[in-house]
Symmetry: C2
Subunit: 495 residues, 2 copies
């Protein structure tokens, strides 16, 4: 790590700390210490948390509040995992990772409030644009484009998805009455059997690719229905609309200062309880406790929380090894392929044209776009998700070629002014060693019914967090918070 | 490692060496040195091979023959990977892992001949037994039980599988004309669409479970058809019968002294070029070459061959990280769940009753059985494969309960004498840290068409072997040999 980088990290943590709400942190109070980036680790703590994403940080925070000594071990030189702020050259902040938040995501909203991070509504005024293949663009509002060729089928499909998802228990999808049947077919196969018109399948891609980083052809129908079921809370059953929509749904709002403020402020509160540059290589359990071996040395703990994506779990050397069914599940949960591409303009020029910036296109690099401007609209930002098979085409191109394709995609939605941004930023999560893809890990067909019941089963003294283990809003920041809270309660109860 | 264990290892390697054919091994000649089990590694070699399974050992052997300096790094305290001999208490040898060999598996047969390891025919005299659910047992010969309720459908299905598999290029299944369609549905779904009677699906499980360690519900149709296409050689297209049958097919013969002799003799020839107890943690490439970091220290190399199962590739820390598409493929190839259960009797008593010991059962722990007696029939051994959903039921039971179920399964096939063995041995590969399941890794639906083309693409100075990378007999010992030979040629050409 270069010095300049280290310096900027400390600055980030410092500025985040200033905004953090007070928390009764045992020995820690007043001025926050920074996370450590090198040097020796404490020789022993009550609980080691592996991974300083939102889930791990929430677990650590709650355990500290319970009086436990905690150390969070993070492989990277930063906290936040799949949540990452990016500062544009003009100073405005956008997100390179998870960004949106919406109703029923109560846990991340409560956490943000506590941390002093405010929300603002995603810009949805004006019309969305739908570009249906060879036809010209069509204006619409809401979630589904009013193409008479797709509306009836889209409505029917959405109704069926909602009805079927209600038969899938959020905490035990493997017990759904038709679990085995639904887990043995792909979503793609099911949609084709449902005889919807191909255009609906095209529109659905603009939902699947950003949500999963994969197309319907790779996905278990049972997993998909469960995912929809989790798009709610204890009082509101999940629906396709709440999972996929903007206003009133999962993309309703964003965080002022960027979602990255949430992990940054938690890390600032935790101070030197967070150790960066400390990839965990081995987790060795014995009668005496757990020994966690990192590149910065080993730490002994009474309990360990692992809060990293499933493919990274496969990469940790556990002794004794994971129970076979758990190991199978981890082998069968692959991260998606997804990148976020942002183009920055002097102003959000589309708004004056009566456009929202939201768009759907059935071809090209930009299958789906959003207005990603900062709350003060000091600059205009358009965001494209490039995922799944669209990533396979465009994510593997040279940058200049992809940039051109993305800008042309934006131009098809908001007009040719989009071809000349003042800045272009992209983040490809498939290049991230310590995430291995994005946005979430999807179990392959058969995995949930065969091995899914191990998802939250502790392995001796090792417990599991991460958004993939949540029973609501799995795959979202809210799921990460819920999982962190659940595991903290679980670990506390074990002491 | 305890001393007694270390001693027995040296003895095994010593006795294997005695039978090995001479090989022009550069500096090594005459008395073989043993593999090292501790201590420092050489600081640099031309080629490091990761994994001392058959594929890695073949690669090492061929590279040594080309005059390269080679070091094979093996995580375990033994060589052989998924191939492992087991000595029964009376002294006879059986296999706990890969065992069978058959026509068109020319490469492993040639290697065995060169190493002085002979083959003998799997016992198939007498009748096989088919236990179709509630009905009593039925005698038959050949591969498919003559149940009039299943024969027509089984024949039709087999014909279709063979025809379709011929459209899948063994070296590039992602280019098959219907690749995308076939990769987006599971085998289970396809079979149900083919409207075969449920009994045929039951019988098919006795093929899927030992072959893949998984059921049809988890498997891409394209992968399955490709796997069948690889069950042959350059002159003989693969067929379902050759992949699944006994006499004249994949289970035609076994090796005298156990298949374990093949890796043991190669390792004995390689001598101290094999380092045990040396799990590879990091592979770091730079302009100066590759640095391979193990628990026994680091080794520099000009090229590296990785010959381990895909989930173990995910666990190695590569710098730079694997190309995203390769990383995705590795995340989407899960090992199966499979155990081998052997019951040992004073004699192969079933032979006198006119039975082969081969059986199929549509329920219970023993879905498929084979006569696994040594060539001199000094004892009688029955072998059951317990895989896939059958493993999920029986593999997770306490040993005593499973033993009872397996013996009852044998009894249903050869009679109640099977209930009282003199010895019972089982090997569950899902408990093996350095294999993570068995017998092979199957890509999940969508993985081959999206990412399959990276299967043999070198990552800079890192090359790939292992049976999963073979274009013939992938998943078999023959595929492991072919992959090792191919990678040795590839690496040699790069020098």
């Amino acid at each position: 790590m270069t010095e300049s980088r280290s310096l900027s990290r400390r600055t980030l943590l410092g500025s985040a700390a200033a905004g953090g709400a007070a928390l009764a942190f045992g020995s820690l109070s007043g001025e926050a210490e920074a996370a450590t980036t090198s040097g020796s680790l404490p020789s022993s703590v009550d609980v080691v948390v592996v991974g300083a994403g939102i889930s791990g940080l929430v677990a650590a925070r709650n355990l500290v509040a319970e009086g436990k000594s905690v150390l969070v071990l993070e492989a990277r030189d930063r906290v936040g995992g799949r949540v990452l702020n990016h500062t544009l050259s003009g100073g405005a902040v956008i997100e390179s990772g998870g960004a949106f938040v919406g109703p029923t995501q109560d846990h991340v909203l409560a956490l943000a409030k506590e941390l002093g991070v405010e929300t603002f509504k995603e810009y949805v005024d004006g019309k969305n644009i739908y570009v249906p293949g060879l036809l010209g663009p069509m204006k619409y509002t809401g979630t589904v484009p009013p193409d008479p060729a797709i509306l009836p089928d889209a409505f029917l499909l959405q109704t069926r998805i909602d009805q079927m998802s209600k038969q899938v228990p959020v905490d035990a999808p493997w017990t759904a009455p038709r679990a085995k049947e639904w887990d043995s077919i792909t979503v793609d196969q099911w949609i084709r059997q449902a005889s919807v018109v191909p255009k609906v399948q095209d529109v659905l891609l603009s939902y699947f690719q950003p949500s999963f980083g994969t197309d319907a052809k790779n996905m278990s129908l049972l997993f998909f229905l469960w995912y929809i079921a989790t798009a709610g809370n204890e009082k509101n059953a999940g629906t396709f609309e709440r999972s996929s929509g903007t206003a009133g749904a999962a993309q309703d709002s964003r965080f002022v200062g960027g979602s990255g403020q949430i992990p940054l402020r938690m890390a600032a509160q935790l101070g030197d309880r967070v150790a960066l540059n400390a990839p965990v290589r081995r987790i060795i359990q014995s009668a005496a406790g757990v020994n966690v071996v990192t590149d910065r040395g080993a730490v002994r703990a009474k309990r360990v929380v692992v809060a990293v994506p499933p493919p990274l779990v496969v990469g940790i050397d556990f002794a004794p090894i994971l129970p076979p069914r758990r190991l199978q599940l981890m082998q069968r949960m692959a991260m998606g392929t997804l990148m976020k591409c942002d183009a920055v303009y002097a102003t959000p020029f589309w708004r004056k044209k009566g456009l929202s910036g939201s768009g759907l296109n059935t071809k090209g690099a930009v299958r789906v776009s959003f207005d990603n401007s900062p709350p003060d609209a000091s600059v205009g930002v358009l965001l494209a998700f490039v995922g799944g098979s669209t990533w396979e085409t465009y994510g593997t191109m040279p940058l200049a070629q992809r940039r051109k394709a993305v800008l042309e995609g934006f131009a098809a939605i908001v007009g040719k002014e989009a071809l000349n941004p003042i800045e272009y930023v992209e983040q490809d999560w498939t290049h991230e060693r310590w995430t291995m893809g994005s946005p979430i890990a999807s179990p392959s067909p058969g995995a949930i019914t065969s091995f899914g019941s191990t998802i939250r089963e502790p392995h001796g003294l090792v417990h599991w967090a991460g958004t993939e283990t949540s029973t609501y809003w799995s795959g979202f920041m809210d799921g990460a918070v819920r999982a962190g809270e659940r595991v903290a309660t679980e670990v506390s109860a074990a002491f």
